[in-house]
Symmetry: C2
Subunit: 179 residues, 2 copies
């Protein structure tokens, strides 16, 4: 699918998923898309764990639901990890790095006919949740769990958020100018 | 072009650009791709200014070269702005928001046959540079300039960075596991 079409098609899906599993070859394509994102000074601070073991997916979903995520369990998901290391001097870009990786993942997910949602606040807002996910997936202390991205075929089309008008957010050669 | 293909084709280009201008309709597509990125609680904290006035592009490029960017002047570019407002309570996601928008922009740029480079450190590392760009583009104080993305047709293929092996950064169901 054309990249600009996919970019416009992507949205945050919070509804129920079909039970259909996500084949490993699709998960691999999705992981590869994430790893192909740029990173500050090429430090490659982002790592990914695909989760398709139903017990693990359920346990993670339960944790993020407790923290207020309104979405439903998906058959699979991607756990996003970062290493909080500097790109140079005291400059850190790991947040930019994993965000670009997540956007790539969401686009690959959309292109392959699945839906997802960027769940970060419900993962990071208490360190206990992060610790529990790290324990479940055997994640060493140098890595921080920052997001979980459920993946599955949506049962129905979800609701799209309202976007501000183009002219309120994009201009040419000067703030507020259309020309 | 297929989205996963574009994701893999994208890379940070630091070489010289052809003088060929970037048509406004392409800049518009690129801006739209950026604005279509997700944002924490849909706060849409990212705004964009396309720059194709040669004097402005040169002035901005001069500033970031002074700060160490090794790339060459392009015929156009996108200036990325953010509003540092909370998504909820004291939770801020503006950095994730603009990073996802930048990745969308870089993918649209690649799909349309241009090259670019995510220039952030050289823009944000001294507040004087940010202030000067803000003055040039008439940007109000509530917005912060966080990145500049040159856009143009590359004179030649640039060098791609080395990526770690897939197995060093992506796993299934547990850290370090391939199955």
């Amino acid at each position: 699918m054309d990249v600009i079409e996919v970019i416009k098609k992507r949205y945050s899906y919070r509804g129920p998923y079909q039970n259909t599993p996500v084949p490993r070859e699709d998960l691999k394509k999705i992981l590869e898309a994430g790893l192909a994102a740029p990173s500050g000074c090429n430090k490659q601070t982002t790592s990914l764990i695909a989760v398709d073991n139903p017990e693990l997916v359920n346990s993670i979903t339960k944790l993020i639901k407790k923290n207020g995520f309104s979405g439903q369990s998906a058959p699979a998901g991607i756990c996003v990890l970062t290493q909080k290391i500097p790109a140079y001097d005291d400059k850190y870009f790991y947040m930019q790095d994993y965000s670009a990786a997540i956007e790539n993942i969401l686009l690959a997910v959309t292109a392959l006919g699945y839906a997802s949602c960027w769940i970060e606040g419900q993962v990071t807002e208490d360190s206990e949740t992060q610790k529990q996910i790290a324990n479940m997936l055997n994640i060493p202390a140098e890595y921080t769990v920052v997001a979980f991205l459920p993946i599955g075929i949506p049962k129905a089309e979800g609701r799209r958020p309202k976007y501000k008008a183009f002219s309120e957010r994009a201009w040419v050669n000067a703030f507020g100018s259309a020309t």
